[in-house]
Symmetry: C2
Subunit: 458 residues, 2 copies
């Protein structure tokens, strides 16, 4: 770590931007608005994906893969959807290049009859397919999920939080009744909530979007929102009840048990690589990342403290059985024997990377039969009996996971303020931020007034 991180208190936004790059999570690509997810960041995403995927499968969903491209005309089939999505899209107009003057140019004759849109979301192409897949109540419910990349053109980008291309999952389900579709919408919000709590160690508040902020084409949009350390809320996942809007737009009908034809009821739900941004902003500090063990690519780093190769090899030999025991228990361990770095540099580096536990072991520790164990979340140091580490480390990791959730929960609850007076709300929004529990008459007018006055969202 050659460079120092801007403290959160100086500039929270700058701190975030620096940390994501310095901790090797991601970087901006040469293509404006796109990001490049580096191995350390991608390893976190893989753990998120695997955990969510198991939860989706446990609730009866199957994965499939729909095309990257959507014919332009599809976007305008659902009236509200076109308003929301047919704007900032990447448009493919040609399908061939040709060599010219040592470079390449677009071949003008290779122009598509109908332009193709790089999917910003897949409701339109999926519901166009469901028309063929769904004929009878026996084909329902249809519970499909897709892991994919999507593109929504953005000029002002922030790594993970807002990028033109991002990775996500999109669930698209079809049901025979409104009640079943609403139940599914709520079930998936529940899955997201459980994932946020137990994996991200990030307590969330379940909410309902106002008509203004609803997904384009949805009847109802549920969401989970988390509180970042700067007192701002971050939307972490959404689950939409789409009613029969897409079924009508794409003419998807089914024959019920009673022999009657009716339009199908729909949901869609998604979370994105933005969750990595939320993870960073919920837990990290001025030293770097703090990763909850369930999503950390490395759980434990062992830094040998030695003089000369012989001492290092001795420490390694003594650590081998411990590492084998930990790996068998599902713990990822790294033994850092890099001879070109000082141990102080290594300590700072693994703090920056958010590795939950650091062990430092020198010749004296070996003599005493102990090791220095440092928790990344609390900074707590302890000299533990070396012989007990194989048992105690998995328990410590569980304690860290729980401790991080508890700390985030405490922070959040300290930032939920009940307010009765509008003037008080305006004052507190300036001073404190956080969530405010308020009275609202439920109208769009009031929502817009509050937003105009305070920039707060409902």
């Amino acid at each position: 770590m050659s460079q120092k991180l801007t403290p959160r208190s100086t500039d929270y936004s700058k701190w975030y931007n620096e940390l994501v790059v310095m901790a090797d999570l991601a970087q901006h690509s040469d293509v404006k608005g796109c990001m490049l997810i580096k191995p350390y960041g991608y390893a976190i995403w893989e753990k998120m994906r695997d955990a969510l995927d198991r939860m989706f499968k446990d609730t009866g969903h199957q994965n499939a893969y729909f095309p990257l491209f959507i014919p332009k005309s599809y976007l305008s089939k659902e009236a509200a959807h076109v308003e929301g999505f047919a704007k900032e899209c990447a448009v493919v107009t040609h399908y061939r290049l040709k060599a010219q003057d040592g470079g390449v140019v677009v071949a003008p004759e290779a122009k598509l009859e109908e332009e193709l849109i790089v999917r910003p979301t897949s409701e339109t192409s999926i519901w166009n397919t469901y028309r063929v897949w769904i004929q009878s109540y026996r084909d329902l419910p249809l519970l499909i999920n897709q892991w994919a990349n999507v593109v929504r053109w953005e000029m002002r980008t922030r790594l993970f939080l807002r990028t033109a291309e991002f990775l996500w999952q999109e669930g698209h389900t079809a049901h025979a009744t409104s009640a079943e579709a609403i139940e599914e919408t709520e079930r998936m919000l529940g899955v997201y909530t459980e994932f946020a709590n137990h994996w991200l160690a990030m307590p969330v508040i379940q909410g309902r979007k106002t008509a203004n902020e609803r997904f384009a084409g949805a009847v109802d949009t549920l969401c989970i929102e988390a509180l970042m350390q700067d007192g701002k809320a971050l939307q972490a996942g959404t689950s939409h009840f789409l009613g029969q809007n897409f079924a009508r737009a794409f003419d998807v009908k089914f024959t019920g048990k009673d022999g009657q034809l009716d339009y199908v009821w729909a949901t869609s739900w998604g979370v994105t690589t933005r969750l990595i941004g939320a993870l960073v902003m919920t837990h990290s500090d001025d030293k770097g990342l703090r990763l909850p063990p369930k999503l950390a690519p490395i759980h434990v780093v062992i830094v040998p403290i030695y003089k000369g190769e012989e001492q290092m090899l001795d420490i390694r030999r003594r650590c081998e059985p411990l590492m084998a025991e930990l790996r068998a228990a599902g713990v990822t361990v790294k033994f850092d024997d890099d001879d070109t770095k000082r141990s102080g540099w290594k300590f700072a580096e693994y703090e920056l990377k958010g590795v939950p536990l650091r062990l430092a072991i020198g010749p004296k520790d070996l003599e005493n039969g102990t090791a220095e164990v440092v928790r990344r979340d609390t900074g707590e140091k302890a000299n533990l009996p070396f012989a007990e580490l194989g048992k105690r480390i998995p328990a410590l990791l569980d304690a860290i996971q729980q401790g991080m959730f508890d700390a985030a929960l405490q922070f959040r609850d300290a930032h939920i303020t009940p307010v009765d007076e509008y003037e008080t709300l305006k004052k507190l929004l300036d001073e404190k931020g956080g969530f405010f529990s308020v009275h609202w008459d439920g109208t769009t007018e009031t929502e817009e007034k509050i937003k105009a006055d305070t920039k707060a969202t409902m």
Copy 2:
């Protein structure tokens, strides 16, 4: 299964096209040239991906994610690469649509300064990044893999075998010496070979592409080729030694241990969803798919033979402990209690879907303490003691995996013909197909003559 599959002997190509659709693996999408991978097909791909991903990680590789879009100018930086790839590409020229007359049109003012290409492969954007990531020998080897979608425009498409968009993995590694890069090229060819043998149950021949068929930008292209049932070879994976071509094109240099600056040595290697096509064409028959257990989404289907719900429930009750035992052993079991289908229909359906083992259990079987077990690969039927099924089924699945490999190996070896005379080769190519072991002077002229005369490739 309402429709009957065209027999392989009548029209092998038609049989393949029908089978892929009827077995619910994939279908053509409305976007010309693109496919839609259905849940059953995607479940096979997930198993392939997971197995390969473990093998990549076990050989020291990490995953990352690079952008979907590549600036047009990048494609022309490596002279041979531009020839091969800067042709049939999807070109993004605009980034906004606008509403007009109830539809949407491309906003002419939202034209990109430089067009973006939807990646046909990622060497160019990855090597442009490696210039920043690689400074010294300490940064090497750099062993990165990416799972992604890519697009190569195709007019004549076949599901899985040739589509405009497909899913794949692309490994991109950087090394300090030519020898290390060549070793990596061979190592990954070995990984592909092992995967083909042990997972796909598909014996492959390792080969080297001629200068004509080499990857655009490679110094050497190694490949694995499998023999399909129609006697034609199918390329199943490639591993390229790229020399210093991309390092030169993107100016990627490193300081060696000796302090000298030199260009980095490179490899790239990939397999695609085409492997699903290879799997189908290697093993399947006129009744449908035959899936090797290691890649089958369902290992065992239990079809209860019953009259009335009570009998069905009784059979299910008796099967519950068996299913729990099998699931604990990693075996995926489906109990098909669909009341709307006859058991004959179900038998045909699971044959079509290639489920490796089918159990049929009726009241008489319960009395006798047996079950009828049918192997999909050989059609072999046996009445086995019900109490032993929990132990015998995992062993049977292993035997099926091995049996399928042995059968495919025997078929392949029966179709490798050593030929000494050119006239004999031409005759046998017409009559028999398969692999021919021939003498070749190594020249492009001879290769082209053989191709022109016989359509065979080296």
